[in-house]
């Protein structure tokens, strides 16, 4: 039994067996409570990250598709204008649409390279699911 009057009792610093048992019980209870709160928080953080990553994925997807579509449209338009000017109707359009496709792939490759550089610049910027041992890979 802890004595409020320090130093007065001859068994100072001594605890009764019941007190020790109570102490251990509370300590282990606290441990499980901390663990459960941490687990909840971890899940929450992961979910938040996941949601943010999904929206980033969406943004990157739209970015890539707009690169491809834009290049094909511009290629087709250039071919069409040249065709109407030179009077070679479908041929140059066809060639330029193919070229536009190639340009679109080039755009995507470049955009991807930029994206990769961005991610490497900010290491904690995870695209996709985060893995528990991510920080060991740094």
């Amino acid at each position: 039994m802890p004595d409020p009057d320090h130093g007065a009792s001859p068994e100072k610093g001594q605890l009764s067996p019941e007190d020790i048992a109570e102490f251990k019980r509370r300590a282990s209870e606290l441990g499980t409570r901390i663990e459960s709160v941490q687990a909840g928080k971890q899940a929450e953080i992961e979910e938040q990250q996941d949601r943010a990553n999904r929206s980033r994925g969406m943004a990157y997807g739209l970015r890539m598709s707009s690169e491809l579509v834009a290049a094909i449209l511009v290629g087709g338009f250039m071919g069409y204008m040249l065709d109407t000017w030179l009077g070679t109707m479908p041929w140059l359009s066809l060639v330029f649409i193919m070229m536009g496709f190639a340009a679109g792939i080039l755009n995507i490759l470049r955009a991807f390279k930029r994206m990769q550089a961005e991610i490497e610049a900010q290491k904690d910027f995870h695209v996709g699911q985060s893995v528990p041992d991510d920080d060991k890979d740094r």
Binding site: R51, A52, S55, R56, M58, A59, L62, R63, S66, E67, V69, A70, A71, L73, V74, G75, M78, F96, M99, G100, A102, A103, G104, L106, N107, R114, A121
Partner: protein, 248 residues
Amino acid sequence: MPDPIHQFEVKRLVPLEFFGIDATFTNSALFMVAGVLLSFGLLMYFSRGRSLVPSRLQSVAESIYEFVAGMVRDSMGEQGMKFFPLIFTLFMFILTLNMLGMIPGFFTVTSQIWVTAALALLVFFTVIIIGFAKNGLGFLRLFVPEGVPIYVLPLVSLIEVISFFSRPLSHSLRLFANMLAGHITLKVFAGFIIMLLGAGGAAAAISPLPLLAVLGITALEFLVAFLQAYVFTMLTCMYLNDALHPGH
């Protein structure tokens, strides 16, 4: 079901005409003016103290400045700071308009393809003018990648030219498509709530589900509003960097 496209309708507020050019003041123009005044006013108000140790609001303005300045320095180096006024203006303009669009009932200017196209063309022509002014004909090196054999060079150059001209299109499409898609999704999900409530019975009981979805999408849209302003600015930096250093 409420029409999800209705929110993008441009309404004529004050009809104006200069020399045969239709310059009607529309709701789109109104929100652009509001966006300019708001971003300018807030930044001026936040930094009015001009103290060495910033107040809370001043540090908000400073962190926006630092954010854009960091972006410019990272992509173009110190000499890119010459373009800082342009880039910062673009960023604040788009960010303010995107955020204004998030307020219910407000018009989202950046969901108009003509607005984003005008912004992208501004960047595009700036790149061309700066490119030729800085490098002369050397700017054309942009279309001649290094280490390409001479016999495929015409083909590669053609592809590079198409890639170059596709920039303003993808630049404008991205901002426009993101804002448009986000706002339509919001409207459609919000429409579900009303439809389910109107149907009554068991259908009304599940009406909180789309409400939750709307809540989530709204949060997501705020992220997208910021992210798209960032992406637009980032790409502007990349393109301007090409104007400064045309060799890849």
